[in-house]
C-alpha cells in the first residue's frame, strides 16, 4: 500500500522490466507488433508470458525463469480437482482490490457428512451443483463439496466420498484430522486431486505423506495461531508439499475480531512483505457458526452467512459452509461477484438508443441509465411485458438511477442531449418520454430543456409492464 510491494505487486513492475528479459526480436509471433507492446500486456496480466514462443527455447531458459519469478503472484495459485472441473484458488497479485482486479473468486464449498443417508448426500450435492443465479450476464454458482467424517469410521467415510464423486464433478474437500480416515477417502477417488483438510501440529507428517502420495493440495490448520501456521507451512514445504492452503480458524462468535485480524495479517505479509510462507491461499470455515446453540437453524444460517460475507471481503480463497438456503447464499454469491470485478470502473453499457421488439412511430420511449445492471434489468422487464419500445440509455457514467440523480451524473442536460443525439424525434410521432420513478426529481427540468413531455414511470422497472398497460394507450 505504501510505495512498492516486494514482488508480484503491480506498482513495482514496469513494462521495461519485462522487456529487458524478452528476446527483443520483434518477431510478432505473439500477435503483438513488437516486444514492448507484448511486455506492456504481460505487466497488465492481459497475456501470459508463454505466448512468446522464442522465450520458451533452451537458450532463453534463464531469462524465462527470471520472468516467471518476476511475475509470480504474491499468493500462490493452487488448483483443486482435475481437468475441466478443477477450480483454481489464490493467485492473488495484490492486497487491496483498487490496486488490480482480484483473481480467482472465493470458492464456496457446501458440506456433507459420512453419517448422512445416500439420498441426503445426493440431494445436497445436487442442490450445490444446480445452484445458479443470473446476474449481469454471469451465472453465479457454488464450486465445491466438503465431505466431513463425523462417524470417525474409515469405511463410512469412503462410502460417502464415493457417493459424492458418483453424483458430481465438482472438486471435493476431504475433512478429517485422522490420516487413516482421510486415506480411505482418498482411496475412493485416488486421481481426483481433492483438497486434504487438514494438517495440524499433531498430524502433519502423515498428512504430508498423503498429499505427496495422492498429489493433492493440503490445507494447514492452526486455530488462532498464525505463528504455528507459518511454522507448519515451512515444515510441510521442506517435506515437499508445495500446494498448501492456510486456515487460521474461523470464530463466528467471540474471536471474530481475531479471525478478521488473522486473515488480514496473512494477506498483508504475503502481498506487501514478501512472506512466501504465508503466500498461500486461505480457507475460511463459516460453518463453525453452527457450533452456537440456537433455537432455530435460521439463526445459524444467518450467522454463517454474514461471517462468510466478511471473509469474502477479507481475503478468504475458499469457504466451507453448511447452510444451503437461497436467501443466505444469494447475497454471498452476488458480493463475491462484486468484489472480484474490475475495480477501476463501474460496470457500464454503451449509451444510446436501443430497439426492443418492433417499435413503430407510436411506440413508447423509455429512459434509463447506462449502469449495466440497471440497463439489463429494465430491458428484461420491457421484454417481459411483450411490448415493443425504444429504450434511451443515458450516459450516467455507469451509475444507477438514484445515485446518478443524487450525484448529478444523470441530469436533465444529459437526458436532453441524449434525446437529441438519438434522433428519436425522427422515429416516433409523439414527444413523450417515460422516465424512471427514481428520476422524478429532474422531470420538470427535462421537459424544459427537451420540449418533451415527461411521464414519471414506476420506481422499480418491474412495474413497467403494468405501467405501459395502464398509461400507454
Amino acid at each position: 500500500m505504501s510505495g512498492k510491494e516486494t514482488k508480484g505487486g503491480m506498482k513495482q513492475l514496469s513494462p521495461i522490466d519485462i522487456y529487458m528479459l524478452l528476446p527483443k526480436t520483434n518477431c510478432k509471433e505473439c500477435g503483438e507488433d513488437n516486444c514492448m507492446a507484448f511486455a506492456t500486456k504481460v505487466v497488465n496480466r492481459e497475456v501470459s508470458i508463454s505466448k512468446c514462443l522464442p522465450i520458451l527455447t533452451k537458450e532463453q531458459e534463464k531469462n524465462y525463469n527470471k520472468l516467471k519469478e518476476l511475475l509470480k503472484p504474491a499468493v500462490k495459485e493452487v488448483s483443486v480437482g482435475v481437468g475441466n472441473n478443477a477450480v483454481n484458488v489464490g493467485g492473488k497479485l495484490v492486497m487491496y482490490r483498487h490496486e488490480f482486479t482480484y483473481t480467482n473468486p472465493t470458492a464456496i464449498a457446501i458440506d456433507v457428512t459420512d453419517e448422512m443417508s445416500d439420498e441426503e448426500i445426493v440431494a445436497r450435492v445436487k442442490a450445490t451443483q444446480e445452484f445458479t443465479y443470473t446476474y449481469i450476464g454471469n451465472n453465479l454458482q457454488l464450486q465445491m463439496i466438503a465431505v466431513r467424517s463425523t462417524s470417525k469410521d474409515p469405511g463410512k467415510f469412503k462410502n460417502a466420498v464415493k457417493t459424492v464423486a458418483e453424483s458430481t464433478n465438482l472438486p471435493i474437500i476431504l475433512c478429517s484430522f485422522d490420516s487413516a480416515i482421510l486415506e480411505s477417502g482418498l482411496m475412493a477417488i485416488p486421481k481426483a486431486r481433492p483438497l486434504i483438510y487438514a494438517a495440524t501440529k499433531d498430524n502433519w507428517k502423515e498428512m504430508a505423506e498423503l498429499a505427496l502420495m495422492y498429489k493433492c493440495p493440503l490445507a494447514v490448520s492452526a486455530p488462532n495461531d498464525v505463528s504455528l501456521l507459518r511454522s507448519l507451512a515451512k515444515t510441510l514445504n521442506e517435506y515437499g508439499v508445495e500446494d498448501l492452503l492456510l486456515d487460521p480458524g474461523t470464530f463466528t462468535g467471540v474471536g471474530l475480531g481475531d479471525t478478521i485480524n488473522n486473515f488480514t495479517m496473512i494477506r498483508r505479509a504475503a502481498c506487501n512483505m514478501g512472506d512466501e510462507l504465508l503466500g498461500y491461499p486461505t480457507i475460511g470455515t463459516p460453518i463453525t457458526a453452527w457450533a452456537e446453540t440456537a433455537n432455530s437453524p435460521t439463526v445459524n444460517v444467518w450467522n454463517e452467512a454474514y461471517v462468510a460475507s466478511m471473509l469474502i471481503t477479507r481475503f478468504a480463497d475458499i469457504l466451507i459452509m453448511h447452510g444451503t438456503e437461497g436467501w443466505a447464499l444469494l447475497p454471498l454469491t452476488v458480493l463475491r461477484q462484486n468484489i472480484y470485478t474490475d475495480p477501476r470502473k463501474p460496470v457500464a453499457v454503451k449509451a444510446g438508443l436501443r430497439v426492443i421488439g418492433t417499435p413503430d412511430e407510436n411506440s413508447p420511449v423509455l429512459m434509463t441509465s447506462n449502469f449495466a445492471l440497471t440497463y439489463y434489468t429494465v430491458e428484461q422487464d420491457i421484454e417481459s411485458a411483450g411490448a415493443s419500445a425504444y429504450l434511451l440509455v443515458v450516459d450516467s457514467e455507469g451509475t444507477a438511477i438514484d445515485s446518478g440523480v443524487a450525484g448529478r451524473k444523470l441530469t436533465a442536460e444529459t437526458v436532453a442531449d441524449a434525446i437529441k443525439e438519438s434522433e428519436i424525434e425522427e422515429k416516433v410521432k409523439h414527444k413523450k418520454l417515460i422516465i424512471p420513478g427514481k428520476a422524478a426529481r429532474i422531470s420538470g427540468e427535462i421537459e424544459e430543456l427537451s420540449n418533451w413531455q415527461v411521464l414519471v414511470g414506476p420506481r422499480d422497472s418491474s412495474g413497467i409492464p403494468k405501467f405501459l398497460q395502464e398509461k400507454w394507450k
Partner: protein, 402 residues
Amino acid sequence: MPERAEKNSDLKLPPEILDLLTGSDELELEDVDIDVEELEFVYQPGVIPALQRIVTATKGKPTSLLQTPFTLPIQKYPGQIAEVTLGATKSQGGSRGKTVVIGGEKSPAFYTFENPTPNMPVISLDVFDQKVPIPKAVKTNFNDAIQDPVSWAKFAVEKFGAQMITLHLVSIDPLNPKPSTPAEAAKTVEDVLQAVDVPLVVGGCGDPEKDLAVFEKVTAAAEGERLLISTVTLDMDIEKSAKLIKKHGHVALAFSPMDLNQARELNRRLLEYLPKDQIIMDTTTAALGYGLDYAYTIMERARLAGLMGDPELQQPMSSGTTNAWAAREAWQKMDPQWGARELRGPLWETVTGLTLLLAGVDLFMMLHPAAVRTLRNTIKRLTEKRGTADIAKFANWVSSKY
C-alpha cells in the same frame, strides 16, 4: 422452511434475531495490549529479502516441526482520521442525554494487530417525516409507530436501542404537492429532539436550495445540539452552509457522488470554514449487487489515503446503508428457492453494511432492526481484546453433527 415462509407474507423474523435487538447492554471496550516488541517492527519496503521456496529434493525430510518466527506485519501511517462528536449534553450546550464519538483511527478498519479501534462505529436508525415507500420486511417491525416521526423515533430508541436517529425531512421536497416549509421542518426537528435524548442526524430532500433554506431554520432552532446536517454538496452554497453549521454548533455531512476528487474538493472547501471535528464525509453507498463494489473501493481508498497523510480525506465516513433496499433482490418476492424476503432483505442490508464496515465506515444510517443488531454485535466482536477466540468451541466443526 423457505417455501412455507414465502407463502406466509406476514412472516416475522425468528425471535432469536429480533430478541437480540432489544438488548441494550453495551460491552466495555477493554484496553488492547500490544507488546512493545511488536511495535518496534516497522516494515520498510525492500529491506526484507524475498524468501526462497525451498526445493526439497536435495534435503532430507524434516522429522519435527520447524519453528519459524512470525512478526506482526505492522505498518506505520503518517495520518490520522479526525475524531468527531455528535450530539451535545446540557453541559455542552445541547439537551442530549448521550453523545457519540466516531473516527480517530490510526490504522485501516479493525487492523487491531496494529492499533486498537479508537471509537466503535455507530448506527443511526432512519425515520421519515412523511409516508415513503418502505419494504414490507421493515414495516412489520415498526407497526403503527411509523405514522409520525416522533413516535417512530421513540420506538426506534426504546424498542431497538437506537444510538442515533436520522430524521429525513422528505416532506420539504419542492416536488411534493404541498411541501412543508422550513419553519414546519424545524418544528419537526424540535419535536423529535424533545421525544428522544440520542443525537440526531437531520437530512434534507436532495434539492440544494430548499435544503439550505431548511437547514437555516433547523440549525438555529436546534442551537448547540451538534446535529449532523445531511447533506452538504458541491452544488450548494458551501460558504453559507458551513457558516450556519459553525455558528449554531453542528456538524456537516459532506456528500460526494462516488468520486474521490469531488470528496477532496468538498472537504477542502468546508475546511475553510469548519474545524476538522465538524465534518463527516459520505462518498455514496450503492446496494449490494448494484455498485457496492465501487462504493467499497472508493471508501477503502479514501481511508487509506487519509492514513497515508492526505489532509483532505481524514474525515470519518458515513454510509446511507439503507440504500441496500434499492436492490430488488432485497425486497421482491422471488422464486421459492431464494427464500423469504423477510430474511433475504435484512441480510442484504447486513452484508452491504458489513462490507462497508470493513472499508472503514464510522457511521451507518440503517433501516432494518435485525441488520442493525447484527452490525452492532459485529462491531463489538471486532473491537474486543485480541486473543479471546474460544478455540475449543469452534475447533470441532469437522466432526460435529449440525
